[in-house]
Amino acid sequence: MKFQTPHSVEDAVAILVADPDARVLAGGTDLLVRLRAGHMTPSAVVDIKRINGMRDITSENGGWRIGAGVACAEMGEHAALKADYPGVVEGAELIGSTQVQGRCTVVGNLCNAGPAGDSVPALVAAGATVRVAGPNGTRDVDVIDIPTAPGKTSLKEGEFVTSVFLPARAANSSDAYLRFIPRTEMDIAVVGCAVNLTLDDAGVVTAASMSLGAVGPKVKQVDASALVGSTCDDAAVEALAAAATAAATPIDDKRGTIAFRKDVSGVLAKRAARAAYTRAKGAST
């Protein structure tokens, strides 16, 4: 195995094009586990963290661009980003331990394409896009379209994700991400749920989106229109929960059962909706 440290996106793409068995290293918190376990034997590891901009969080068109090498802990330390997207940041900050937080990245979490990645549902609910660099230049892709199946992405040969972009926030908007795990830390989500809301000045929901993790082969967008026109009252929230439970298509595995995951999808939908609503109202005052 070789270790490569390109200093530009172009160099990185050139390496990836020349060597289809090379793998991109950002935080490494998934890649190194697989390497050590012998589940993966790449010909080269391409460390992209030394490319300019990969470790930056920058304001862009009123939104935020987050480099592929930004550690999740760095997102948590960015007050303005956290104020705009508390749900995205709390999802990112739930991955692993303090030690893992210092290394793991949302782009890595996304490209790992695990159904249970904690940072992905809130990115999807936020309508985030990623910038993909490849032999034919760059393209922007909706986050939801990156994973295609467990462990599989839509990235083509020679391509890698250089950043994720969170769009500008409308007034009175906020989001929340909740997951269920058996312990209080260190677990993979059994169910994850993100809700993203925009309210009018009277506190009535004008736009809502929701996504679920760990209840299907990839992150799942769920119709959240039950909340639109409501003030997140019990009836609206119960309708949202029912939609979440109905939309979930989980499997039985060592982490949970189908029945449990469907039930908890509804529970988390309720709780996340209420948390996002409270935040969005708070944002308006």
């Binding site: 490494g28 586990v33 050590r36 376990a37 692993g96 303090t98 030690q99 830390e185």
Partner: protein, 159 residues
């Protein structure tokens, strides 16, 4: 197989080593530099026994490649005491019986020091969540958490 030459700084000293691309920073610390205070408990980032600081941030050294450490600074348990003067956390872990078998102790001390460097007055809950990635199977964590809180109070008092 050609190996990679890495120049780095470990516990304040300029250090260089040769490593294979697969070698983790933990492999290098233990096998090549004989800094065996960092332990391998899982090799998957789930136990925290290999915790070190990389550019001041806590990481599991089993999840960092040895080659990545080039030009960066690494702090391990071996660098925590100042000569023969123990860090207050080290002193209190002994005095307050915050260890039994001791295998998790280096990782916990490095993590706790990093916490107190950033947050001199953590709550019990903050300490517990900060250290959630450091598994201890002997103590039930009780005396560890107390030792960290007591040390924080002591260091605030001394400051």
């Amino acid at each position: 197989m050609s190996r990679i030459h890495v120049n780095t700084t470990i516990n304040g000293d300029a250090v260089d080593y040769l490593c294979e691309a697969e070698d983790t920073l933990l492999d290098v610390l233990r096998d090549q530099l004989d800094l065996t205070g960092s332990k391998e408990g899982c090799a998957s980032g789930d136990c925290g026994a290999c915790t070190v600081e990389l550019d001041g941030r806590l990481v599991c050294s089993c999840l960092v490649l040895g080659a990545e450490a080039g030009g960066r600074t690494v702090n391990t348990i071996e660098g925590m005491a100042d000569g023969d003067v123990l860090h207050p956390l080290q002193k209190n872990f002994i005095e307050k019986a915050a260890l039994q078998c001791g295998i998790c102790t280096p990782g916990i001390l490095v993590a706790a020091k990093n916490l107190l460097d950033h947050n001199p007055d953590p709550s019990e809950e903050e300490v517990r969540y900060w250290l959630a990635g450091n598994l201890c199977r002997c103590t039930g964590y009780d005396k560890i958490i107390r030792a960290v809180l007591d040390t924080a109070a002591e260091m605030r008092g001394a400051a």
